[in-house]
């Protein structure tokens, strides 16, 4: 594991940039545990202060320090993203592996449901869920809803991997040795599926963070919990652009773009590592 990491850092420039960016943002987000003021508190500082030596990134119209707000916001946003990713991976792996291994009728049923869910527009459904839940909408509920909508592409991918393992020699050996279906899937097939799970997890994380930003920018989540989208939501509510409080809106945008860039570079370089064909073509073979 550490050897892979070392090699990737040494030979893959995209991985190095992505790794450094993501790590830096993660450490910055971690710092919010040592913040001088609670992140939810408002009007404790003079509002609308431009960036200065005292307030590095300025303060908001709600009397909050932009720097510490962002630190807590990135933490919450990442936490949301990871929760969605883990939940939706469980679904994708279960459906994908069962569908691929069982085949036949089960495969048809599961994949028909899968394809149907892909064709449904996510955002209107999420908005409807928010609309009916209203004030009882907390971030774990939102994460669970997002996870229910975000597994289907990857289930198809995992299914195709399992499908190719199904007729391999070692699977038959396992069947003759009397292993049960869950045992075969967990012990024999999961190691082969792992790289795909890992790669789709990165993409899913990026998708989930984007979803969180989108929903909270519109105010469709717990608006008192600091998130990156929530900061932009409050900045819009106070008309920060027109009032010239540019630091309130510019720094969150920069932070989220850097985070996306870091995660995306990690995702493509990990994908390249997993798929040796693209590594070969990179070397010019």
């Amino acid at each position: 594991m550490f050897k892979i990491l070392r090699d990737l850092l040494r030979y893959n420039i995209e991985f190095t940039i992505g790794f450094v960016l993501t790590l830096a943002i993660f450490l910055f987000a971690l710092a919010h545990f040592w913040a001088p003021l609670p992140a939810e508190a408002i009007y404790l500082l003079p509002p609308d202060m431009p960036p200065s030596a005292q307030y590095w990134l300025g303060t908001t119209s709600r009397g909050q320090d932009v720097l510490w707000q962002m630190s807590a916001a990135i933490w919450n946003t990442m936490l949301f993203g990871l929760t969605v990713t883990i939940l939706s991976r469980l679904l994708a792996v279960a459906v994908g592996m069962l569908s691929g291994y069982l085949g036949g009728k089960w495969d048809q049923i599961l994949m028909t449901i899968n394809d149907t869910m892909i064709a449904l527009p996510n955002i209107p459904i999420l908005l409807l869920v928010y609309f009916v839940m209203r004030d009882s909408m907390s971030w774990p509920v939102l994460a669970a809803t997002a996870a229910l909508l975000g597994w289907n592409y990857d289930a198809r991918l995992i299914r195709s991997v399992t499908l190719s393992l199904r007729n391999r020699e070692f699977t038959r050996h396992a069947v003759f040795a009397g292993m049960s279906v869950p045992q075969i899937l967990m012990r024999q097939h999961l190691p082969y599926v792992m790289p795909v799970i890992f790669f789709t997890a990165m993409n899913n994380l990026i998708w989930a963070i984007g979803l969180e930003v989108t929903l909270s920018v519109l105010g469709f989540s717990d608006i008192n919990r600091p998130t990156i989208g929530g900061m932009i939501y409050w900045a819009n509510q106070h008309q920060a652009i027109i009032a010239g409080i540019w630091w309130w809106i510019a720094f969150p945008i920069i932070a989220i773009v850097l985070l996306f860039l870091g995660l995306f570079l990690l995702a493509i370089s990990v994908n390249e590592y997993i798929d040796p064909r693209s590594r070969l073509s990179r070397m010019g073979a």
């Binding site: 028909t112 449901i113 394809d115 149907t116 869910m117 892909i118 064709a119 449904l120 527009p121 996510n122 955002i123 209107p124 459904i125 908005l127 409807l128 869920v129 928010y130 609309f131 009916v132 839940m133 209203r134 004030d135 009882s136 592409y153 990026i206 984007g210 979803l211 930003v213 989108t214 920018v217 519109l218 469709f220 989208g229 932009i232 652009i241 809106i249 945008i253 989220i256 773009v257 996306f260 860039l261 995660l263 995306f264 493509i268 064909r277 693209s278 073509s281």
Partner: protein, 334 residues
């Protein structure tokens, strides 16, 4: 039965299944609600002052009827299907007494127009760039443009749109940032009106293109770079077929098939991006209608837009499925 009729039947089944599950799902989501939509609307309406309790009781009954919330769950479910099939979601509360359906119908052309245009540009440009980048692997210009579109692709539509809005609306105010067309112009086929339409549509469309183009680029590039090593391409190269012909007839055409399937699969998420973009630019489409409906607590409007967008996306997917056999002779001939 095989070939085209079988293909058509399967697609048709899938189409009905999407609508059935989507509409049923929508119905059951509304049943999750911890708050009664009738009470919610009532509290919105009685906020303005004391109302006669008898009038409130009458209103409560009227709203329950309006929302189709009378009888058992099963009766409500059947009634909901009746509404969907008749296309009648009752009047909108926030712009009473206009029916929800006519609000949707007047917003739909804007969304369809914006989305179709943006999708055609995104798909064509993304695939063209991706195919070229996969075929001419050493070209620096293609590598550079690839890096730009790939970096933009994970960023949410709202952020890309907001940055464009700040740049072209505030820092260099060159394009209008709100609405679908200039207010004081008479809608029609006049030159001024069309120009205004294009100006207002540019930034929303650009947002959707910038967000969408990366994924087509990535998948097309990897498809093409796999096909390039296929036997039939190598054979054509050895046979002296010109590289332009190999690119368009041997490589790109084969790679386009999965991309067309991908187009059908991506419509749902593209629609989501359009919802956000429309709201950001105050574009008079279905997405803005939906978000405004949520802000105003308009139950019938939100339910109507959600249901209709599921149906609309399903129809669009089905249309793409019908186009597919024209490009893939294997489906057409069986």
């Amino acid at each position: 039965m095989d070939g085209f009729p079988k293909y058509l039947l399967r697609r048709l089944l899938q189409f009905f299944l999407v609508i059935f599950l989507g509409v049923s799902g929508t119905f059951f989501i509304t049943k999750l609600s911890p708050v009664d939509p009738v009470e919610q609307s009532l509290s919105l309406m009685t906020n303005f002052g004391a109302t006669d309790p008898r009038a409130v009781e009458l209103m409560r009954q009227a709203l329950a009827e309006l929302y189709g919330l009378q009888g058992s769950i099963f009766e409500q479910y059947l009634a909901f299907w009746g509404r969907v099939l008749r296309g009648d979601f009752g009047p909108s509360l926030s712009s009473f007494p206009t029916p929800v359906m006519s609000l949707i119908m007047s917003a739909l052309p804007w969304t369809v127009g914006l989305l179709t245009l943006a999708l055609i540009i995104t798909w064509t440009l993304g695939n063209l760039l991706g195919a070229l980048a996969g075929y001419y692997r050493t070209n620096t210009l293609l590598k550079l443009s690839g890096a730009v579109v790939m970096a933009l692709h994970p960023v949410p539509a709202y952020i890309v749109g907001l940055v464009l809005l700040l740049v072209f609306g505030f820092i260099f105010p060159v394009l209008p940032i709100s609405g679908g067309a200039q207010m004081n112009l008479q809608p029609g086929l006049s030159l001024d009106y069309i120009r205004s339409l294009i100006q207002h549509g540019t930034l929303p469309a650009l947002t959707l293109v910038l967000v969408g183009i990366g994924s087509w680029f990535i998948s097309m590039r990897s498809l093409v770079s796999n096909i390039v090593t296929d036997d039939h391409v190598v054979y054509a190269e050895l046979g002296g077929v010109s590289s332009g012909k190999i690119f368009s007839q041997y490589v790109a055409r084969n790679a386009l098939l999965p991309q067309l399937t991908g187009l059908a699969l991506s419509l749902g998420s593209v629609f989501g991006g359009a919802v956000i973009t429309e709201f950001l630019y105050n574009y008079p489409g279905v997405g803005r209608l939906l978000i405004q409906g949520i802000y105003r607590g308009d139950y019938s409007l939100v339910l109507g837009v959600t249901t209709m967008s599921i149906v609309a996306v399903a129809v669009a997917v089905f249309i793409i499925d019908l186009i597919y056999p024209l490009i893939d002779p294997r489906v057409r001939l069986g």
